[in-house]
Point group: C2
Chain length 502, copies 2
C-alpha cells in the first residue's frame, strides 16, 4: 500500500493546490511520538523553555507573510483576520514564556516539619511537574491560534511537555510551515527539534491517542471527532487526560428591557458577531432568546438588515459547507420555524448568512426541535421568541454546556431580570458576558475558554494563563535533603519563586 | 423482590452483628441524588459551609466513643488506631473550613479593561464555582478518614457540592452513624440535612455514577472496582470527572550505601511499615529493591526478625483475607521466589505477616513474575534483590504508577546513588520520600496523595488542601457590572479575598 497523499486544497475553488505531505503510517506515528518523548529531558530547564517560546514567537512573525499567504490559500479566512491571528499566536507564546519564568503555575507549597502536631508533620514540598508527551489535535477554524503553534502547543511546551501535533486536514501546508518554525526555534535556542513533531492523517490521530508514551491530549473540533478521541483516551490500559473543546451553542438572552431600549443595537451587534469569520467561531452566538412583541420584532428587523447586507463568504472547506447547508435545511423544515433571511449556497463556492426564528414554546420539552439546540457551524443563528420569563427559563434549563453565555440587559436604570438571568446562565457556561458578544476570546490571565460538556471534556481552559495547568501533575517531596531537591523547592528559594510556606 | 438487607459483620468471627439498612433500589438512588442536588443552593454561602464543617468535626468528636466502638466491631482496626483516625478526620474537616474561609482555593484572577491592547482587552474576572452534586465511594480500610466523613466528602462540601455517599459494605453501621452526624451538623448550622445523603449496595454504586445529576465522583478502592466506575463515568452521555485512588505498590529502593550503613534499621522500619494496620494501608511499601550481598542479607535478616515477632491480625473482612491468602500463595509458587517468613492464615480468622524475596533479574522483562509488581492487599511485601544499579533501574522502569516511592540512602556522607534514584522515582509516584516510610499520610497543604495510574485516575490528590480543586470549575465574567458580580469578584474586594489582579 502506498502512502496516502495529503493535499492542500483551495476552498475558494475546491481545487487541490499542492501535495504537502503523506499520511503517517502507524510506524511513523510511533516514530514521531518516540522522537518527541526521547527529548523531554531537554525541556526540563525553565529558562531554556522560555527562550524557546520567545524565539518561536519571533520566527513566527518573521515568517508571517509566507504563513499568512499559505493559510489564506487553504482556509479562505483572508489576510486581515490571519494577520491578527498570527499576532495573537505570537503574543500567546510570549505570554507563556513569561508565565514559565514567573513560576506561579508551579503552585509550590512548602510545609515545614512540625513535631508538635499529632501525628507529627514531616517536611513536605510540593510543586508541579510535566505530565509527559502531549498530543495536540489542531482545529480547522484557527489555523494558527488553535493549531500547530497555538494555545495547546504553547501551553504544553511551557509546562515542559514535548508535543506531537496531529495536523488538521484543512490546512496541511500551514501546519508544515508552522511546525518547521517551531522546530527551527528549538534548534536556535539549543533544544532538540523533536520537542515538536507533526503527523497527518485520520488514522494517525487515532494511533496517537492510543500510543503508550502519550500522556495527555488537547483537542479543538467537533463533538463527534472529539468524543471518539475522548473515548479512546479513557479506554486505554492507562487512561490519560483528554482536554477537548467540542462544541458550543453560546446562548444569548435578551431581556425585555434590553429589547425595549436597544433593539436596533442588539440586532446589529448580533448580526455582526454571528457572521464573523463566516460564522466559524467556536464562540458564535448560535441561539438567542428574544422576547415576543414589538421590541423583539424590532430586534429581528435590525438583525434582518444586518445579515442581509453581509456579503457571502467562503467556508473553510467544502465538507463544512455541505454540513452547514444540510444543517440549515433540516432545521428550517421544522414546524413553526421561519427564516427571515434564509442562509444558503452561493454559486461560487460561497455561502450566505441567515437566521431562523422559532417560538420558544417549541423548545420547552423533548422533540424534533431539539435540533435547534445543537451547534450548526457556519453563519446562522436561531432566535427563539419567548412570551414569559418562565418560558425562557424552561428553555435555558434544557441547554447543553457552553463555552459562553450572554445576557443583554437594559443599560439605563436597573434591569429587574438581569440578576436572575445571570444566575441561570452561570451553570451553563465557562464565560458569562453582559452586554457584549462572545466572539473574540481575549488572551489574558483571567480568561476561561471552556465549559460544561460538550463545550469541553474537562473543567479546564485552552486560552489564558491557566491553560498550562492541563499538562502538569503535582509531586510532593517528603523529608528530602536540600541538596537532593530541585532548586525550585530548596529552603533558600534560590530562584526567587512565589511559594506558599507553612 | 424484597429489599436486600445490609448487614454489619464482625470480621473477628465472620458473624453478622446486626442489619443496619437495606440496599438502595434504583428509585432510592434517584431520590438520594435529587434530594442532595435540590439543596445545592444552600451550600453557596462560604460562611455557612465553614460553620457546617466545623460543627461536623465537633459532633464527630462528641459521638467519637460510639462511632469508634461500631467501627472497631465491624473492621477490627482497634480502638487506638480508630481514635487517631477520628481525630484526623475531624482535623481534616476543620482544615477545609479554614480553606473555605481563606478563599485562596477560589483562584480569583481579575484583568481590568485595557483599551490600549490589540485587540482591546475587556474586563475579565475569574473564580471557581462548585461542579455540582458529587458521588463519594467510601474506602474499606479507613472507615472514617476515607469514608462517609472523610477527605472526599469534606473537600466536596468545602467546594460547595452536595454529596451522596456510597457506603462501603465493610462498615455499614459506622457509615450510618457518620452520615447522621453530618446531617445533624448541617441542621444545626441551618443547612438542609440532605447536603449529605447515603446509599448502600453494589447496584446503587453503579446507578450513582450513571445518574445525570451527579457531576463528579471520588473513589478509594481496588483497581477492578475503580476502573469499572471510571469507565462508566467516561461512557456517560455527559462524561464526568472521576477521581479514583485505585492501587499502589509503593516501591522502596535501598541503595548499597544505605544497606551497608543501616541494614538493621531499614529492615526493622520496613517491617513496621508494611505490617501497620495489618498491611491494609494504600501506602504500604509493597515492593523493595535491596542489594544482593552481605548488607542486603542483613536487611533481610532484620526484616525477618521484625515480621516474625509481629502478632497476627484480623483483616477488614473475610473476602479480603481470602484474596490476601490466594495472592500470597500464587506469588510464592513462582520460580526463584522464597518466603523467609511465610504469610499465612491463623486458625482464628487472623492472618500472619510475611514477605517474599526474588532476584531482580526475574523482573526485568515481561513474564509470570509480573504478579509481584501488582499490589497484594495485606501484610506482605516483596524484596527484589538487585546486583547492579542498571538492574535496579530496569525494574523501576517497568513499575506501574504509585502513590509513593521511597529511597533509603546513606545518612552519613554523600550517597552517590541518591540523586539518580530520586530522578528515576519521581516519574513513578506522587509523593517521594527519602529515608522515611510511606505509611502515614500527613494532612497538610503541601501534601499530595495521588500519582500516575493506577495510583489515581487523575493528576489530583485526595488528601491535603488542594483536594478541594477536584470539585470546582472556573467561570469568567466579562464586562459585568459590579452590582451583578458575586461579592468575591467585586472591584472593592469587600470580602478581603486573595486575588491576582492585572
Amino acid at each position: 500500500m502506498s502512502a496516502a497523499p495529503v493535499w492542500s486544497v483551495d476552498p475558494r475553488s475546491g481545487n487541490p493546490r499542492e501535495q504537502v505531505a503523506v499520511e503517517a503510517t502507524a510506524e511513523e506515528v510511533d516514530r514521531a511520538v518516540r522522537a518527541a518523548h526521547s527529548v523531554r529531558g531537554a525541556l526540563a530547564d525553565r529558562t531554556a523553555r522560555a527562550a524557546f517560546l520567545r524565539t518561536a514567537a519571533e520566527l513566527l512573525e518573521e515568517s508571517g507573510p509566507h504563513i499568512i499567504e499559505a493559510a489564506d490559500a487553504e482556509t479562505a479566512l483572508g489576510p486581515a483576520r490571519l494577520t491578527g491571528e498570527l499576532a495573537r499566536t505570537a503574543a500567546q507564546l510570549r505570554d507563556f514564556a513569561e508565565a514559565v519564568e514567573e513560576g506561579a503555575y508551579l503552585d509550590i507549597r512548602i510545609d515545614h516539619e512540625d513535631g508538635s502536631r499529632t501525628p507529627p508533620r514531616p517536611d513536605l514540598r510540593r510543586w508541579k511537574i510535566p505530565l509527559g508527551t502531549v498530543a495536540v489535535y489542531a482545529a480547522s477554524n484557527f489555523p494558527l491560534a488553535f493549531s500547530v503553534p497555538g494555545g495547546d502547543t504553547a501551553s504544553a511546551l511551557a509546562a515542559g511537555c514535548p508535543v506531537v501535533v496531529k495536523a488538521h486536514p484543512g490546512h496541511p501546508a500551514t501546519s508544515e510551515l508552522c511546525a518547521s518554525v517551531l522546530r527551527r526555534a528549538a534548534a536556535r535556542t539549543g533544544l532538540p527539534e523533536d520537542v515538536v513533531t507533526l503527523v497527518h492523517g485520520f488514522d494517525a490521530g487515532v494511533g496517537l491517542i492510543r500510543h503508550p508514551l502519550v500522556s495527555a491530549a488537547g483537542f479543538t473540533g467537533s463533538v463527534r471527532g472529539g468524543r471518539a478521541l475522548f473515548d479512546a483516551a479513557a479506554a486505554r490500559p492507562v487512561p490519560i487526560p483528554f482536554h477537548g473543546e467540542l462544541g458550543s451553542l453560546n446562548p444569548v438572552v435578551v431581556t425585555r428591557a434590553a429589547a425595549a431600549g436597544r433593539a436596533g443595537e442588539i440586532g446589529a451587534g448580533l448580526g455582526a458577531s454571528m457572521t464573523l469569520g463566516v460564522g466559524q467561531f467556536c464562540t458564535k452566538p448560535g441561539f438567542v432568546l428574544a422576547p415576543v412583541g414589538d421590541a423583539g420584532d424590532r430586534l429581528v428587523k435590525a438583525l434582518t438588515e444586518t445579515v442581509s447586507s453581509t456579503g457571502s463568504g467562503v467556508m473553510l472547506d467544502h465538507r463544512m459547507r455541505d454540513a452547514f447547508l444540510t444543517g440549515v435545511r433540516e432545521r428550517a423544515e421544522l414546524p413553526d420555524v421561519e427564516a427571515p433571511v434564509t442562509p444558503g449556497a452561493g454559486s461560487d463556492h460561497t455561502v450566505s448568512a441567515g437566521f431562523l426564528t422559532v417560538p420558544a414554546s417549541r423548545l420547552t420539552a423533548d422533540g424534533p426541535h431539539d435540533a435547534l439546540l445543537e451547534e450548526c457551524f457556519g453563519p446562522v443563528t436561531v432566535i427563539a421568541r419567548y412570551g414569559s420569563g418562565d418560558e425562557a427559563a424552561a428553555v435555558l434549563a434544557r441547554l447543553p454546556g457552553n463555552l459562553t453565555a450572554t445576557v443583554q440587559t437594559a443599560t439605563e436604570g436597573e434591569d429587574p431580570e438581569a440578576a436572575g438571568l445571570l444566575a441561570a446562565l452561570t451553570p451553563l457556561a465557562g464565560r458569562i458576558l453582559v452586554n457584549g458578544w462572545p466572539t473574540g476570546v481575549a488572551v489574558a490571565p483571567a480568561q476561561h475558554h471552556g465549559g460544561p460538556y460538550p463545550a469541553t471534556t474537562s473543567p479546564t481552559t485552552s486560552v489564558g494563563a491557566t491553560a498550562i495547568e492541563r499538562w502538569l501533575r503535582p509531586v510532593t517531596y517528603q523529608n528530602t535533603p536540600d541538596a537532593l531537591l530541585p532548586p525550585e523547592l530548596r529552603e533558600a528559594n534560590p530562584l526567587g519563586l512565589p511559594r506558599r510556606v507553612g
